[in-house]
């Protein structure tokens, strides 16, 4: 197997190893140290995002909003010193970025083989995705970021961004409802539906 060209690769690998060990061992000081280091190292931050997603999946937290809310509470309780406020912890109030979508594509292993290099480039891009996620808007975004990728890739990118948008909107609404003490058991305030 060829060795990675990035001289920082081994350092990041070692840091990730320490981070996972610290999480498993409940060593919050070590966790905080790594998270602080990630603030100045986007590559490390992206790798930590992948670790968090893997943990989330492993713990089967995905579909259960109450579990997500519980974890939010625990993190807020235990990681206050590492972050200025709750919004910063999860970035839920931040706009959805190209990085977020690329990371999700990477994590869910949906990147077509021919587009892996393109997605790797997008992992470094913190530009917000368009608020109106139309085909035209995503085409425009593709031109702006200057990354060559297949049409299929950009379709996957758009589809993934839409689902992330649904998830993030849910989380923002839940967070706001919790703060205002108006959270309903279903986590929804307004809902309508039907069939025919």
């Amino acid at each position: 197997m060829p060795l990675p060209k990035d001289p920082n690769w081994f350092r990041r690998e070692a840091t990730l190893g320490r981070y996972v060990s610290a999480l498993d061992g409940g060593d919050l000081e070590a966790v905080e140290a790594v998270l602080t280091a990630a603030m100045d190292d986007p590559e490390l931050a992206a790798a930590l995002d992948a670790v968090h997603l893997a943990y989330q999946e492993e713990m089967q937290l995905g579909p259960a909003a109450q579990d997500v809310a519980l974890v939010r509470e625990l993190v807020r309780k235990h990681f206050q010193s590492a972050f200025a406020d709750d919004q910063a912890v999860f970035g839920q109030e931040e706009p959805l970025t190209v990085h977020d979508v690329a990371l999700e594509l990477e994590y869910t292993r949906r990147v077509p083989a021919a587009d892996r290099s393109a997605n790797a480039q997008l992992l470094h891009n913190r530009q917000p995705v368009p608020a109106q996620l139309s085909l035209q808007a995503v085409k425009q975004l593709a031109q702006e970021v200057g990354v060559q990728a297949s049409e299929r890739f950009w379709k996957l990118f758009r589809d993934t961004a839409i689902m992330l948008g649904i998830g993030r909107s849910h989380q923002q609404a839940l967070s706001a409802a919790r703060e205002e003490g108006r959270l309903t058991p279903g986590g929804e305030e307004t809902a309508s539906g039907g069939h025919h």
Binding site: Q136, I166, A173, G186
Partner: protein, 181 residues
């Protein structure tokens, strides 16, 4: 060619069709006769289209929960078979949606009909409400709508305004009602 309008409903439908072409950056009058670029039309909005095997309210919920990693309430009757399903979630004037279409046992025409049916709901019922209430509050809202499967003896959906354009098929027959109710 704009159809001859005789009722308010037909006017609303024609206006919605004109709008969706405009939003998609397409010139309806310039299109050659043939199959309408349905997925380009849907793509004008933040809607994802997915074909799902054995679509029911339950499988729709499972799909949405898996993809969004959130709890998604949908109408009861989880085993009720569906031809199509529309889900939209909105918060703070931003919304995203998903159109699910039953994949198995459905012809291409039928699947396109289901997708177009849900787009019709979005354009005629949901989008006007979204625009009327824009900026009026911060409460989240969720909308879902399911399209029942047609009966075995029901015919294939006819070619409506969202299916074909150009020539006589663009002459104003309103055929967008679902084959089942």
């Amino acid at each position: 060619m704009i159809p001859l309008l005789t009722t308010g409903v037909e006017f609303r439908i024609a206006a919605a069709i004109a709008r969706v072409y405009r939003d998609a950056g397409l010139d309806a009058d310039a299109l050659r006769a043939g199959v309408v670029p349905l997925y380009s039309l849907i793509g004008a909005y933040p809607l994802r289209v997915v074909e799902v095997v054995s679509l029911t309210y339950g499988s729709a919920r499972e799909f949405l929960q898996k993809e969004s990693r959130q709890q998604v309430p949908v109408p009861e009757q989880p085993d009720r078979p569906l031809a199509g399903f529309l889900y939209i979630y909105g918060y703070r004037d931003q919304f995203y949606g998903c159109i699910l279409v039953k994949k198995d046992g459905q012809t291409v025409a039928r699947r396109r009909f289901s997708a177009a049916h849900e787009l019709g709901h979005y354009l005629l019922h949901f989008l006007p409400r979204l625009e009327e209430t824009a900026g009026s509050g911060t409460a989240p809202w969720m909308i879902s709508e399911g399209l029942d499967l047609p009966g075995e003896d029901e015919p294939e959906p006819p070619s409506g305004q969202l299916f074909f354009s150009g020539g006589e098929r663009w002459s104003g027959k309103r055929t967008s009602s679902p084959p089942s109710s």
